[in-house]
């Protein structure tokens, strides 16, 4: 395995020139930095959720609001989508054909959208109980954190659509490849945040 392969799974720029390689390195590293900055945002929202959990102000509580089954299904959807994105990366890296790449991207997109559907359904049923963000500090911290992750998933899905169009438009040129790599990092990162949400928000709330 060349050093390049280990570095970024899926980074296979073929025989492009040195400058492109350098740019790829920078582009990916820059995106990592962005993710870490974003991670701070989520970390602080988690901490806030942790300290505001008791602030239910006599209103709905985690036990009355969380639907374990739904959260579990959402977890499965997102985990699986991370896996399918991985297969898409491999299809890109090893040049297994655009169709295969598009297929896995499409599956990932569907899983992402399904996740969003379940999440919106969760929110709707909370709303119907009167569990709005304006009800209590605890619910504020919930609605500050979980929908923000949902928003990320939404933008990730949008990004997948854009990349699918670009793949069929430009083929796999260097910029498409770099962007697919960044998208991959983003998608896997969202999965990590979700692990936090599943454990810290849902499971902790229900213990």
């Amino acid at each position: 395995m060349s050093a390049n392969e280990v570095k970024h799974a899926g980074l296979n720029l073929g025989d492009t020139d040195e400058v492109t390689h350098e740019q790829a390195g920078e582009g990916i590293f820059g995106f990592w930095v962005f993710l870490m900055s974003d991670a701070i945002v989520f970390a602080l929202l988690f901490a806030t959720y942790g300290v505001m959990l008791p602030g239910t102000a006599g209103g709905p509580t985690p036990a009355s609001e969380y639907d374990m089954k739904s959260a579990f299904i959402e977890t499965l959807l997102l985990l699986t989508s991370s896996f399918t994105f991985g297969l898409a990366s491999i299809a890109m890296k090893h040049e297994l054909g655009r169709v295969r790449l598009q297929f896995w991207l499409g599956i990932t997109l569907l899983l992402g959208l399904a996740f969003l559907g379940f999440e919106l359904h969760d929110f709707a049923s909370m709303f119907s109980d009167g569990a709005y963000g304006s009800r209590s500090g605890y619910l504020s911290s919930f609605f500050g954190l979980v929908p923000l992750h949902g928003l990320h998933v939404f933008f990730g899905s949008l990004w997948i659509v854009v990349m699918m169009v670009q793949v069929s438009w430009f083929g796999l040129d260097a910029r498409v490849k770099i962007n697919l790599l960044r998208l991959g990092l983003f998608w896997h990162f969202l999965d990590i945040v979700w692990v936090g949400i599943f454990s810290v928000v849902y499971l902790q709330g229900l213990i």
């Binding site: 920078e26 590293f29 820059g30 619910l139 504020s140 854009v162 910029r175």
Partner: protein
């Protein structure tokens, strides 16, 4: 509920006639309202005059092509500094108004109403931090750092432009608040619940929230950009331990930006949720907890003050070494100290709320962590002193600022250590003592550094030196003015005068207040002299040209090319062999050797994406402030569309052919052969054309 359904259908949201400062002054022509309307008219007249001037000079095209849409890091840097100067003029006038108010208002109401005074300290603080200090240092780093590491540009030139325009959008909102509506009265730290809807139903805190949010997004992206640039774009041979110190401080500042801006964004976003959707993050009651706001804000706020000071430390390191004609003493120590300050700055935020009620263990821990920062800071000061030792010190303007800095900053450090003692802090927290402390850090620390850097690198940017005499006159004002303006505040703080006080009741305070007022006016003069200096220097520019590019016998790579530098910075990316590479090359007589071959150079094309995103951001902010929902939503869609459209752009570079590079470089080499080198005694005379004589 907070959001009313009918709001969605109003075209202009909450704006009505009374929102305009002019209308308010018309209906109630008190001195207070007239001052407000005067400020508003300055903004409006200034803007109109600018537009007319540009139209009259037929410079729109030039401005658009050469500047606004430019992705050249040097131009972006200069635009940041121009933005800082515009905002500075406002914030300084506000400062002088505040000083005047306090000097006059001993047992009388003074010239501005309490509410107006609160707007003044809130805008002054917010502008100085977010729209003066941050753009100044971002601009300086933008301009200098790529040249120092031997790069052609930053890693993400378009992102750089986006950051600039986001900052500009925030500044625009600040300016809009003068004309339409009011600004927050909650100070630069915007503590809830005072800034919550219950206590502050107007648009003020919303202006603050969105202005600060836009600028902090810009800063986060800038930090990312700089950090990646320094990590990945160094010239071959430029190991980290060969980086000029300014780059080290730039790197640490960037890292702080990446990790410290998010807490601010989180805090302002939560406050916005509280205000717009009735959430209870920081409200009294309903499970809200304003203590978390203090916690989040200072998680940002403390690293922020080191974001401000570190680049200034970098400037001092460069300046002291250059004007002592000597290597920097203790390079490794300086690097370690810089990193230590950066990391430690994440461990002390609680010292801003020692008085909130946590237990002695926690206060003690954070107090000790705070004092620890004194050690690396002291190391730096001593390293600069020992850099002068056995050197040949030239008392040029930047060097004077550096020396004044060292001797004044330590006084602020002393008051900082006092504040770090929780029981002592209980007594002087929230008093003018604290105000004196931080101005003592910010003005002789950060600002002197920025002025020093500006004077030092100005010739590199524009090709001519600034006038020495006017510079020295301004320097005297800055030093005298600072001592007069802020030493009395230490005394008043010890006497128990609270900060943000609009009126005082003890005649014994009056002498101190008057001295401070005089100091404020002298500082204002100092700024005016800087403008005079700029004017005189532009007028006499032919006498002061330094086309060869090395007016101060500099040591880093930024001096190794022409002044102003070509857009691609280096004809050929240099190979670095040592620290202070350029000084080393001059000693070995190989500073101006022609390269073996020239190559084509690829540079990023201009793009208007940055402008569009910034303008959209500003409009969305304005829409949110005034609850004009369509105006809040459409620009956001515009941003998304721009980003997507841009990702389809393929032809984003242009090529400068090797022949053109060779011609330009050859021209410069010829100029060098024809130029007479000057020695250090003559460097401030017209004989200095930017070629330093070899010192035996």
């Amino acid at each position: 509920m907070i959001v009313h359904a009918h709001d969605f259908f109003t075209l202009l949201g909450k704006i009505d006639l009374h929102s305009f400062a002019f209308v308010r002054a018309w209906r109630d022509p008190s001195l207070n309202q007239v001052i407000a309307a005067g400020a508003a008219s300055m903004v409006v007249i200034g803007a109109i005059a600018l537009v007319l001037l540009i139209t009259w000079l037929k410079k729109w095209r030039y401005l658009w092509d050469e500047w606004l849409t430019s992705l050249d890091h040097k131009k972006i840097g200069i635009m940041y500094i121009v933005l800082a100067f515009v905002m500075l003029s406002r914030a300084l006038i506000e400062a002088v108004l505040m000083r005047t108010q306090q000097a006059m208002a001993v047992n009388t109401p003074g010239i501005v109403s309490p509410d107006h005074f609160a707007e003044l300290f809130s805008t002054h603080g917010s502008i100085m931090i977010f729209f003066v200090a941050m753009p100044l240092l971002t601009g300086l780093i933008n301009f200098v750092m790529p040249q120092q590491i031997g790069a052609r540009d930053v890693s993400f030139p378009l992102l750089n432009s986006v950051s600039l325009w986001l900052t500009g959008a925030g500044a625009g909102l600040m300016m809009a608040s003068l004309v339409i509506g009011k600004f927050s009265t909650g100070g630069w730290s915007g503590y809830p619940p005072f800034t919550e809807l219950t206590y502050n139903a107007g648009v003020g805190p919303d202006y603050w929230i969105w202005a600060v949010t836009l600028s902090s997004l810009g800063s986060t992206l800038t930090g990312l950009n700089f950090a990646v640039t320094i990590y990945k774009k160094r010239a071959p041979g430029m190991h980290l331990m060969r980086l000029p110190l300014f780059c080290w401080t730039a790197l640490c500042t960037s890292i702080l930006m990446i990790f410290a801006m998010p807490p601010l964004t989180v805090a302002t976003a939560m406050l916005a949720l509280d205000r717009y959707l009735g959430f209870h993050f920081f409200t009294n009651g309903m499970g809200g907890n304003m203590m978390n706001y203090a916690n989040l804000f200072w998680l940002f706020g403390h690293p922020e003050v080191y974001i401000l000071i570190l680049p200034a430390f970098g400037v001092y390191s460069e300046v002291v070494s250059a004007f002592s004609s000597k290597r920097l003493y203790g390079y490794t120590s300086l690097v370690l100290a810089t990193m230590a300050i950066a990391v430690l700055s994440f461990t002390v935020w609680l010292h801003h709320f020692f008085t909130m009620g946590q237990n002695a263990d926690i206060n003690g821990f954070f107090g000790i962590a705070t004092m620890t920062i004194g050690i690396p800071t002291g190391v730096k000061i001593y390293d600069w002193i020992w850099t002068m030792f056995r050197g040949e010190v030239r008392f040029t303007v930047p060097m004077l600022y550096s020396i004044a800095f060292m001797m004044t900053f330590v006084l602020g450090g002393m008051s900082g250590i006092l504040l770090a003692m929780p029981p002592a802090d209980y007594l002087v927290h929230n008093t003018l003592f604290l105000v004196a402390h931080f101005h003592n850090m910010l003005i002789p620390g950060m600002l002197y550094g920025m002025i020093a850097g500006y004077t030092y690198w100005f010739p590199k940017a524009f090709g001519f030196r600034l006038h020495e005499g006017w510079g020295k006159a301004a320097f005297v004002c800055w030093v005298v003015g600072f001592y007069l303006a802020f030493m009395p505040l230490y005394a008043l703080g010890l006497a128990g005068v609270a900060r943000r006080t609009h009126e005082l009741f003890d005649p014994a305070f009056r002498p101190w207040l008057i001295v401070a007022e005089v100091g404020g006016l002298i500082l204002l003069t100092g700024l005016a002299l800087l403008f005079v200096q700029l004017y005189v220097s532009i007028r006499d520019r032919e006498n002061n040209r330094v086309p060869v590019g090395d007016p101060w016998d500099g040591r880093g790579l930024e001096w190794a090319n022409a002044a102003p530098a070509p857009e691609y910075n280096f004809a050929l990316i240099p190979q670095v062999h040592s620290r202070d590479t350029f000084a080393w090359r001059k000693e070995h007589d190989c500073a101006y050797d022609p390269p073996d071959e020239y190559r084509d150079i690829e540079m990023p094309r201009n793009s208007m994406s940055g402008v569009i995103i910034g303008v959209c951001g500003g409009l969305a902010g304005f829409g949110l402030v005034w609850h004009i929902w369509w105006l809040a939503a459409l620009p956001v869609l515009g941003v998304i569309a721009t980003v997507i459209a841009r990702s389809f752009a393929r032809d984003v570079h242009y090529t400068i052919p090797a022949a053109k590079v060779a011609a330009e470089h050859g021209e410069w080499l010829r100029l060098i052969r024809e130029t007479r080198p000057v020695d250090r005694f003559q460097e401030t005379s017209p004989a200095n054309r930017g070629l330093a004589a070899r010192v035996p």
